[in-house]
Symmetry: C2
């Protein structure tokens, strides 16, 4: 459907084509299937004792006229149901589950009954303020909620072939296309929280109805134009705010409406909004070939990835506005780094890879996935981080709680604003969709995750079976199955962390000289069924330093091995982590510990601990120097932290020069 | 008047007895006289263009029936007038100024007319909510405001001998003694912001009326008793809060009402409240000899000075509640360290010195005075810090403003809540009162500030003329004038920063062996008029380290010379101060720079700057090590920072080991 851009452009290989059989990832995907999604269903049905009330399902029943009661929750409470349905859809793709599908169908029935004749679907406004719909786009998340339902509808259709939810969401989108636009009686505006843009492109791709792409483009093009739509909208309703009796004050940067999107130079404001917007922009650009939009995507990508991203792939340096702050400002302790923002960054990276396959996008995608996203969930699948700090001192979180009340030293059970757990669920359940893409007769392999994929290249069916030893070792083996020999290129990402890479095809070394283009090793040959390819990525322990302008990390180092960023935890290293130093010449050793946190590789080093002999009770002393005593340091993967109770943690460690 | 405690107890030498002629300090005292107090008068009269409205004087005129209008400002707006009068009183002690005195008398006339027949004096409740007086002690600062007016009344009486304001404040205190107590119809409670306790002891000392001491004791004894008075008071008025329509939530720790004061183990809650309370407790203890109260003062002193005090003498680690956080938690950037809190700490130290002369109190008094208090005001006397950070990055203050909106990288013109500037004014104007105390026939010299003092020891009149080269050099010379030879002891504080101390009397060395008691060198002899004593305190540049549990300063060092703490400023060292290191063996050189910020000593050192060659645009790199390049470091006294425009500053610098 998409127009050719006259340049390299890849298509994603969909979840449906991939079957993951990876030791590392299947644990998490099974957790989503067996624990997270059932738990989430109970949560949105208010069946979990002691948890915060959700109201999400009940809101739909009330709006459908099936129950009496009041709306409960946030204005965007509907999205918890939508995200649950989307996760269910992805699970159904990879494994049939009639009971689960029936549950989903029943939920969809209720949703259908809650939809208004116009197509409008939003339980908050239906139940609570029917006269006020579309009057406060700035604050009320109507298009955001619509976007999530549209994503669910497309996913459910792709998974099951059923149109029940698809028809509902087409009506939502049709309604949006009537309500919004520059015509008479239309609202010449856009959403307060971006999301519907990318959803409408998904719907366009599913349905082929150009109208959905056009309205998505419209929202993107309108955003940030002056005079401000949000200001006009506020004036029209007497400048009321939805939350209290105050008058509204709109911070355009928070909403990315300070400038037209094509003129934005840096990522500013609410981090999730930024990356959802950029994912939508990349989607539209891919379909329209709009070079100015691609250029804006690249510019903002560069700003994020080279100036505003934590080493863990986290984004958002401040709690206030859950937002970006400014270039090179990456506080490790008061950090926001919302799980959802890293998921949004993955969405954006995944789309950029379709616009222009380049390992810089996949490297970030992998970084966010293996570190922040995985850290967002506990090993039991029942506890979640919304905020992902890189440095935690429980005393500080609890004792200086105004600056730190967003930072939890242990994962929480659920959230009143439950955006992150279902977002993790839908991402992990659809992980297969992020692994490959194709372009002409090239297969791009972005992530090394074991499993099978079936795809077509110019009519040739190719089946790849991947065995991966990641993230612990750097070997990925591919077996090719074909009906008959065929010429195509296997483009294998050489990750930034791989100090060396080598390829062996059918037992013979394949020289990579001049074969690595944009970070992908291009293995171009006539393949025969049964061919074997082995990629070996050297995975040394890396000492990572930050750009000199990152104040918080000056004089500090972090360790990384393969895609995994490491950290020091109190459980292994004692308290007072600030006293530890890693000498520049310390030998770093990697050791597998089978019984630790599900089996992890630990990095061990002989470090130093700042010590003062007999300091005494004085707060300040002038008659003593810090002495160094040897300290055995043990680093664990960041994703695995906070699985052994409450304690200190730090990713960045002082270097001893 | 005070009862003997059966132990060493010193009496302060009052401001009236001291005439400061010190090069260093007279600059600031003259600034208070010539700039701050006149400016403050214009400010409280709303005559400063562009400044926030004060309303303070006008409120009194309205309450006095002399003007029509509404109350304006905080519930404690009256204290701006009280503190101005108190500062004026101190200025009048040291220099007659008929015009200023007349201005004060006119103001006092108005205040008298604003007083109610009962003695009650508070313009907020008189004008705005007459029916609600004494119904919300928790929030409404009535006793706090009364306390400040009482302090002003006593100071004005001591300065001028006039009873005009004294009579007014006696009526205030008489009214308080009627309203509060355990008797029928009385309020069995206490203040929401401590201050009146110390004020009532001043009034007791001026008037000799035991009732004033008793009611001060009453407030102290009642505080923290259970059931909670604040809770009962809230219940009695339907739990309303004064600020909005919400119900009140009382945090007992914020108000130091979590336990009876004698049982409090650590300083918690609002820092100014804590130290004002402790000053009042020490005052009462001094008068009553209550050992349990002294013990509580010592315990909380120890907690503050050895676990919760910045190297600058600042207290209060968090903006939320302007409060202490917890032991060893001393963030340098999000710090509060309110100027008023350090002033309160000086009040407390000054009282402890009367209970038990010990240099640990005077050392802290000096530390707070020369560093935080002086830093609170600019060299032009027109700009002030409320919050005194030890590490500032303007980008961070402005770009991450929710956590940093209390931290200003440059001094501000005035404050809506203008507690700090007038507090600096009254402290500096009364500085002479903090220098000496006597006990029997011992004269204690706590601060080395040039000037003359006249005092009596058991009937012997002694005149001391002090020449001090502090804070730049460590010599203090004393000339003694006496009518006839007399035996007494001159007890000279040997500051903690002095690595060596020597005394020469009339040209001959005086051995200090066994003469230093509780940090004071006791020079005991028969003195004759014309005797000369020279104290030489070695003033090396000190490298200061923090207790190992202070996370924020681990691996860092600060420099101090004499009483002055030093800092690095961007103006001298370039930006990116986080990249600088001070080698443990770096030679530190002291150089006087006459033309810099009024003439200061600068400490110079050959340090290192973390550098990466050709870092490029990447945010993270694994293929490079930090290299050290030489960097000339220049440290200036902390008090002098932010007098050369906006820039980075840090007190604590990385050490290179």
């Amino acid at each position: 459907m998409g127009q050719a851009l006259g340049k390299v452009q890849a298509k994603p290989v969909s979840l449906k084509q991939v079957h993951i059989t990876d030791h590392f990832w299947n644990y998490y995907i099974d957790l989503v299937r067996d624990v997270v999604v059932p738990y989430q269903w109970d949560a949105i049905n208010d069946r979990i004792e002691g948890a915060e009330r959700s109201g999400a399902v009940s809101n739909f029943k009330i709006a459908a006229g099936l129950e009496k009661g009041d709306f409960y929750g946030f204005v965007f409470q509907d999205t918890d149901v939508a995200k649950w349905l989307e996760a269910v859809a992805y699970l159904l793709v990879t494994k049939r589950d009639d009971a689960l599908e029936q549950l989903a169908d029943e939920m969809i029935d209720i949703i259908g009954k809650a939809q208004q004749p116009s197509g409008y679907l939003n339980t908050y406004f239906t139940i609570k303020e029917p006269g006020k719909k579309w009057t406060n786009l700035t604050e009320c998340h109507e298009l955001y909620s619509a976007g999530h339902m549209i994503e669910a509808g497309v996913a459910y259709y792709n998974a099951t072939g059923k149109r029940n939810l698809l028809d509902i969401v087409c009506r939502i989108a049709d309604d949006i296309a009537v309500v919004f636009g520059d015509g008479p009686g239309q609202i010449a505006g856009y959403d307060g929280h971006q999301e519907v843009e990318l959803a409408l492109v998904k719907l366009y791709e599913a349905m082929g109805n150009r109208k959905y792409l056009d309205i998505s483009s419209y929202f993107i093009d309108k955003r940030g134009q002056q005079p401000s739509f949000f200001e006009a909208e506020a004036d029209a309703r007497g400048r009321s705010t939805h939350w209290n009796n105050n008058k509204i004050h709109i911070d355009p940067e928070y909403f990315q409406t300070h400038r037209p999107v094509r003129e934005q130079e840096a990522a500013v404001g609410h981090a999730v909004r930024v990356v959802y917007m950029l994912a939508g922009m990349a989607d539209v650009a891919k379909e329209t070939g709009d070079e100015s939009l691609i250029e804006a995507c690249r510019r903002l990508w560069d700003n994020i990835a080279s100036k505003q991203m934590y080493i863990t792939g986290g984004i958002g340096s401040m709690a206030h506005g859950e937002a970006f702050s400014f270039d090179y400002d990456l506080p490790n302790d008061t950090v926001y780094s919302e799980t959802c923002a890293s998921i949004g960054l993955i969405f954006f990276a995944h789309r950029m890879l379709q616009l222009e396959p380049n390992s810089r996008y996949a490297d970030v995608m992998e970084r966010a996935l293996y570190n922040t996203v995985l850290a967002g969930m506990s090993r039991d699948g029942r506890h979640f981080f919304y905020v992902n700090p890189l440095e935690v001192t429980p005393d500080v979180c609890e004792g200086r709680n105004k600056n730190f009340n967003h930072v939890k030293p242990v994962r929480q059970e659920w959230f009143g604003c439950a955006c992150c757990p279902p977002n993790i669920a839908r991402l992990l359940a659809s992980l297969g969709g992020y692994m490959y893409s194709t372009n002409g007769n090239t297969i791009y392999s972005h992530l090394y995750i074991g499993g099978e994929v079936e795809l077509s290249l110019d009519g040739t069916k190719v089946k790849l079976k991947q065995h991966s030893s990641l993230p612990w070792e750097g070997t990925a083996r591919f077996e090719i199955s074909l009906a008959k020999p065929a010429a195509f290129t296997l483009a294998l990402r050489i990750p930034g962390w791989a100090s060396e890479a080598s390829v062996v095809v059918n037992g013979e070394a394949y020289a990579l000289t001049d074969k690595v283009v944009d970070g992908y090793a291009r293995i171009e040959r006539v393949w025969t069924s049964g061919d074997q390819l082995e990629l070996v990525l050297a995975m040394p322990i890396l000492r990572v330093r930050s750009h000199p302008l990152v104040k918080q990390n000056a004089g500090k180092v972090a360790l990384q091995r393969g895609p995994l960023v490491y950290c020091l935890e109190e459980a292994d290293n004692g308290a007072q982590l600030q006293q530890l130093l890693l000498p520049q010449d310390a030998k770093l050793e990697d050791a597998y510990e089978e019984s630790l946190i599900g089996g992890i590789h630990v990095i061990k080093a002989e470090g130093s601990r700042l010590q003062f002999e007999q300091w005494g009770t004085q707060l300040y002393r002038t008659d003593t120097e810090a002495a160094m005593e040897p300290a055995s340091l043990a680093f664990i993967p960041y994703y695995a932290w906070a699985n052994r109770g409450k304690g200190e943690m730090t990713v960045w460690v002082k270097e001893r020069f």
